[in-house]
């Protein structure tokens, strides 16, 4: 196996272009470790991104919070700018695995893995986040996080996830996560809700569901139930019911579709009540 530690993004993109499907990108490495154990081609290349400082920064402008894909869950938990502009991201980062995983797991990895129960993605979708997708020789293109995680795989072989942009605006947000065990488990279902208020009325709303569809998705029916309403227990219940109708959950070894749908309703209702 060949090993590279590119210093610049362009260098990494050239390597990705060169090795194509034989390139393995190392960021936090928690999922890559499993992929490597399943075996890789002899001419595979491991491309470690750690030297690329641009990918590890958190910065804000007047309108946006920019988060590099190498930013870890631990950093999201603690960074003052995240706490200020996107507190739900800090909350969800704190529920990602345990401390050991938070030290290494990156926001980019959480997006690119496109797991239907990924911990950080619901908050990003609730915040209407988008991200740069980079590839050699091309201009960066921008895609919403919801679109990125809906693809299998999330990125093409020669693509690299760039910075993630979270719009800055006054908002209220909350997060609900259900697991079988209380620690060290991905969500059966989780719900992230973010609202912009116009006075006492919800001006805009995003409801994101994890574990409720083949990928993390928006619950657009629930959003419509919220927009234009004044928050109340009736509205919360209606949002929950609409979210359950929006959900398209699977039955697997961890939970049945019926249970997941019921959780979507309950957790959405609770998330709205918490706003």
């Amino acid at each position: 196996m060949q090993y590279y530690e590119p210093n610049f993004i362009d260098e990494a993109l050239v390597l990705l272009d060169r090795f194509g499907t034989n390139a393995h990108v190392l960021a936090g490495g928690t999922r890559l470790r499993f992929a490597l154990r399943r075996g890789v081609a002899a001419d595979a290349a491991l491309i470690n991104l750690k030297r690329i400082a641009d990918l590890g920064r958190i910065e804000d402008t007047a309108s946006d919070l920019w988060i590099g894909p190498l930013v870890t869950a631990a950093a999201l938990r603690r960074h003052v700018l995240v706490g200020k502009h996107a507190p739900l991201l800090a909350t969800t980062a704190a529920s990602l695995g345990a401390a050991q995983l938070q030290t290494v797991a990156t926001i980019g990895g959480n997006i690119v893995s496109a797991d239907p129960a990924a911990d950080l993605v619901p908050a990003l979708i609730a915040y209407s986040a988008d991200a740069e997708i980079l590839s050699a020789g091309d201009c960066a293109r921008i895609a919403t996080v919801e679109d990125i995680v809906s693809k299998r795989p999330a990125l093409q072989g020669r693509e690299l996830l760039g910075r993630i942009r979270v719009p800055i605006a006054p908002h209220r947000a909350s997060y609900q996560k259900m697991t079988t065990r209380r620690g060290l488990e991905m969500a059966l279902v989780s719900v992230a809700v973010s609202c912009r208020m116009g006075g006492a009325v919800v001006a805009d709303a995003r409801v994101a569901l994890a574990g409720a569809a083949p990928s993390v998705v928006r619950a657009r029916g629930a959003e419509r139930a919220l927009i234009g309403s004044r928050l109340s227990s009736e509205v919360a219940q209606a949002a929950g019911e609409r979210a359950a109708a929006d959900a398209d959950p699977l039955t697997d070894a961890r939970a049945s579709a019926a249970y997941r749908r019921a959780l979507v309703a309950t957790l959405t209702q609770r998330a709205v009540m918490e706003l």
Binding site: M178, T180, R181, R182, G183, E185, L188, A255, S256, Y259
Partner: protein
């Protein structure tokens, strides 16, 4: 003499453990050891049409290959001779080891494993207990009729164990009962959950003997089994036990040891086999899953009149060491209650799954959970307080058990009352909050155990016991306490040699809540012998009468003249350099029972029975099914608390294992066998899942054995899940009759209760 027994103290092995210096098998220096891997069956049930290792043997680095044709043809004997070390004609579970390979490197061993050619003819499988008992079921052992088995064992098709306890006339009593209640339960298989995967290092010695470094619960028993199988004299096989990273019944039978030994006997190099967690998961001896049905009748005042109970346990592909589960389950089914008419049966069946084993309190959590939820269902039907119901029917001194054993030193009511008081039984519950209680009994084991205590010329005190230290402290903590107490020294001054068969201090191993009992009594006897010799020598050297001599702080002194004293070193010097004494656990016969009351049951009376009750406080979110266990109290009668720190450790650890059994732990089986062999989706409780735990130690000395001890390790894992289940029903009026009682199952039970009443495996009481 200062008393050492019964005081809390620091474990002698703790400092090395916090430094990371403790050596487990995988930490042993490997030097020139070969690395072993196993080729496992991918099929749950298949005929082996062809097995060819010639190509694998040619590959670089391959030194030894073991399989059905390289080892003796003798079947292993666990009461039924149904298993060979390597499968011969059939593989019977996915993950069953078929070939073992030793090579210079792991990569080479894996390459060779991939080159082994095996043609399988897949066969229809037996998935579960219902299928196993179906009239047209495939036979897991088509040749079962040819198997030899012990006289007390039942073997008939897929049934590989059956026993019964009966007395009185159950049907007549049910007919006159004020209420009769039938409850159907299902419990899942689970893993022991030790964190250290199994490992072994085996080496052939120049004389043809064999040395095995292991992390076992039963190194002497393993040594005997291995020597017998390979036709070696037991004294030429040496098992050297290391510290063990948890066992919980899962390390009684050999696993890695067998294969490392089979390979090492073929070559002149040590062979090291360390399981990954995944492999350990495939090689596991799980807790039995199965089903149970209870029908009981009670009078209007709550008196239990009759009980019919039947269990079917899924024992997997072979009987292994799992037969005791059925025997214990029938002994637990109606206990600890006075019920005049009982009919209690347990059946073990073969399925195409991993071989179930004696996981900590075999049958205990399952039977106690089912029985105690059933008792609560009866109490609710009678509109009676569940605690009052239990107190009304619980045994007292002089009562007889279902098998006619007269019970002494019975403390179950005290355990119930103290657990109830501590949980706040009488306090009102907030909505969604519930409290539950459960009780049971258990046995002590006094099995073969030997110890030797030696005082060397430098005065140091050495203890040899064959009892392995698996983490409980039964060897490392409790035995030095017993010895130190007799010799008037601090336990930290006792140097313990870990179990090593070369020391020839036989021990039956950790199991049956009997370590401190058996090994403790052996150590006590050895220490008594040394004490007598010390005093005898001091009598001459100090010119004092023996009744005036005290052993205190490492010295023999004359009472009233503390300066007139000799150190152990001085006494030893005057006795040819050392003083030693040996001890053997006493043979204590089983209590009498009524042989007419049992069929095919060879565990029908229990030595020094112990009693235990747990109470739980929970909060249940019926909308999500989430159960938050806030507190567990366990009150346990230990007879005589030799090592209170260790006892509390057993109670607290048992509470959380019991919680895991009750709420989250489920070994799942699918088309490819075990679906969750790792820790990723086999959900053992984390620190966030564990509740506050209160331990109440009750000391009602047993009449058996000099210290009045009762077994400690297993009882506290039996009652917590039952208490939690009853607390869930107390909170929301219903509880799933399936373990684990996961959020989804609790949610479903709550949905069913609000819709159309109880479904088959859940129950609602109003």
């Amino acid at each position: 003499m200062d008393t050492v027994i019964g005081t809390s103290r620091v474990r002698p092995d703790a400092a090395a453990k916090v430094r990371g210096e403790t050596v487990y098998v995988a930490d042993l220096p490997v030097h020139d050891a070969l690395t072993a891997v196993l080729v496992r069956s991918p099929h749950r049930f298949a005929r082996i049409r062809r097995l060819d290792t010639r190509r694998a043997a040619q590959l670089p680095g391959v030194v030894a290959i073991a399989h059905r044709d390289t080892v003796p043809d003798t079947p292993l004997d666990f009461g039924i001779k149904d298993q060979h070390l390597f499968p011969r004609e059939y593989v019977r579970y996915a993950g069953e080891p078929v070939v073992a390979i030793a090579a210079e490197t792991l990569e080479q061993a894996r390459a060779a494993a991939a080159a082994v050619e095996i043609d399988y003819e897949p066969l229809p499988c037996v998935d579960n207990v219902e299928q196993a008992l179906a009239p047209d079921a495939p036979l897991v052992h088509p040749d079962w009729e040819t198997y030899e088995h012990g006289a007390s064992r039942v073997l008939r098709g897929n049934i590989c164990g059956q026993n019964r306890i009966s007395r009185g006339d159950v049907d007549a009593a049910l007919a006159r009962a004020h209420v009769t209640v039938t409850s159907n339960f299902r419990f899942s298989a689970g893993i022991p959950g030790y964190i250290e995967p199994r490992a072994a290092l085996a080496r052939k010695e120049a004389d043809g003997g064999l040395t095995v470094f292991c992390g076992s619960q039963s190194p002497y028993g393993n040594r005997d089994d291995l020597a017998a199988f390979f036709g070696l004299a037991p004294e030429r096989v040496r098992f050297i036990n290391q510290f063990v990273g948890g066992a919980f019944g899962g390390k009684i039978l050999m696993a890695a040891e067998w294969y490392a030994a089979a390979l090492a006997l073929q070559c002149d190099r040590p062979v090291r086999l360390v399981f990954s967690r995944h492999e350990d998961g495939l090689n596991v001896f799980p807790r039995h899953g199965g089903i149970a049905t209870f029908t009981s009748g009670a009078a209007a005042d709550g008196t239990l009149l009759a009980m019919r109970a039947s269990f079917v346990f899924d024992t997997g592909a072979y009987i292994g060491y799992g037969a005791g589960t059925g025997l214990i389950a029938t002994m637990l089914a109606s206990a600890p209650y006075r019920i005049a008419n009982v009919d209690l049966q347990a059946t073990l069946v073969y399925t195409n799954k991993q071989v179930a084993g004696p996981v900590r309190a075999p049958g205990g959590p399952q039977a106690t959970w089912a029985k105690e939820l059933h008792i609560d269902e009866i109490a609710r039907r009678l509109d009676m307080d569940p605690l009052e119901m239990r107190l009304k029917n619980a045994w007292e001194d002089g009562d007889v058990s279902a098998t006619g054993q007269t019970l002494r030193s019975v403390s179950v009511k005290e355990a119930l009352r103290r657990a109830a008081d501590a949980i706040g039984w009488q306090k009102t519950r907030a909505p969604g909050h519930g409290r539950g209680i459960a009780c049971s009994w258990w046995f002590s084991s006094c099995s073969r155990s030997e110890a030797r205590v030696e005082i060397r010329s430098d005065g140091s005190v050495h203890l040899h016991s064959g009892n392995p230290e698996v983490g409980t402290g039964s060897a490392a903590a409790a035995l030095p306490i017993v010895v130190a107490d007799r010799l008037g020294i601090d336990p930290s001054a006792v140097t313990l040699t870990l179990a090593d068969t070369a020391t020839k201090t036989y021990d039956s191993g950790v199991g049956g809540s009997g370590s401190t009992f058996s090994a403790g009594l052996a150590a006590l006897q050895a220490a008594e012998a040394v004490r007598a010799r010390l005093i005898e020598r001091a009598e001459d050297l100090l010119e004092a009468r023996r009744e005036d001599i005290d052993l205190h702080r490492g010295k023999a002194s004359v009472r009233g003249a503390p300066d007139h004293a000799l150190s152990f070193a001085e006494i030893a010097a005057g006795s040819g350099g050392s003083i030693s004494g040996s001890g053997t656990a006493p043979e204590i016969g089983d209590p009498e029972f009524d042989a007419e009351s049992v069929e095919s049951h060879d565990f029908a009376s229990w030595l020094a029975p112990s009693f235990v009750a747990s109470a739980a406080a929970v909060r249940v979110d019926a909308q999500t099914g989430r159960v938050e266990v806030q507190r567990i109290v366990t009150a346990q009668d230990v007879g005589h608390a030799v090592n209170p720190t260790g006892i509390i450790g057993q109670i607290e650890g048992g509470a959380v294992q019991g919680l895991g059994f009750g709420l989250t732990e489920e070994l799942r089986f699918g088309e490819q066998g075990i679906e969750n062999p790792g820790f990723q989706d086999y959900l053992m409780p984390t620190a966030l899942d564990a509740p506050a735990i209160e331990s109440i130690i009750i000391e009602r000395p047993s009449g058996e054995g000099p210290l009045g001890m009762k077994g400690v390790g297993e009882p506290p894992v039996t009652t917590p899940a039952a208490a939690i289940g009853n607390a869930i029903r107390d909170a929301i009026g219903t509880v799933p009759y399936t373990t684990p009682m996961t959020p989804e199952r609790v949610w479903r039970a709550a949905c069913d209760a609000s819709a159309q009443g109880p479904s088959e495996y859940s129950s609602r009481s109003t």
